[in-house]
Symmetry: C2
Subunit: 110 residues, 2 copies
DNA sequence: ATAACATATCATCATTTACTGATATGTTAA
DNA sequence: TTAACATATCAGTAAATGATGATATGTTAT
């Protein structure tokens, strides 16, 4: 057992990826790739319920993937960094070529 | 509700990211960034149990993130594509600058 | 101050997912 | 062919996670 990265590092990296690892959050991140949006706009675009969207936004904020800015009674969200979009683009590219079987992955058995 | 990516696409992309979204699988992927390894070597390096490592490898294989090759009674795994390492590197870079709060993210409440 | 609106929080429930231990499959050597 | 080894599968259990609905907080206008 010759771990280079320690357990905490791996756990944190795992959490970062799990930030991307949900269809609802991905729909939010995708929407924000174009331009910053208010929560209401995000709800509109994604079709998520208000509380669900807000919960996911809280998760994405905690994970550092998006940042929020209060504008009057609206809160506008945007991607925190270009690399968030870069990771999404890389994943899409990978998916196109390599990861066709992904829809499986129902854990071990299927 | 003006989704650009459809539900299936988002679900698949989510699954891809969840492939990366676990500390045990990340320890495997990290190990494979250096060089291809047999299952036994992966067990040794990561400290995972044999069955657990094998299950995770099955998951990573299904997700297209690694490929397996039988060599005698050994099975050697390697990353399926350079972009797998690229995504890991991008995530590390992002984590270093932006995502310090990630260790939170205990879902909504904390 | 009150009403209306925008967003956040929280408890609950259902589902997903990780780990373990036992066992099965497959491969090589004696 | 039998034993030893390498890996895979699978059932069972515990924990993590997502969606919902109700409610709370915060902001602006009247």
């Amino acid at each position: 057992m010759l771990l280079t990265a320690n357990k905490t590092d791996l756990a944190i990296k795992g959490k970062l990826f799990r930030g991307f690892g949900d269809a609802s959050r991905l729909s939010i991140l995708d929407a924000l790739r174009d331009k910053p949006l208010t929560v209401g706009e995000i709800v509109e675009v994604t079709g998520l319920s208000q509380s669900n969207a807000s919960n996911h936004l809280g998760c994405l904020r905690d994970c550092g993937l998006v940042v929020a800015e209060q504008n009057g009674r609206f809160v506008t969200y945007q991607l925190s960094d270009d690399r968030v979009g870069d990771i999404l683009a890389l994943a899409e590219s990978l998916l196109a070529d390599v990861a066709r079987g992904v829809y499986e992955c129902t854990r071990y058995n299927q």
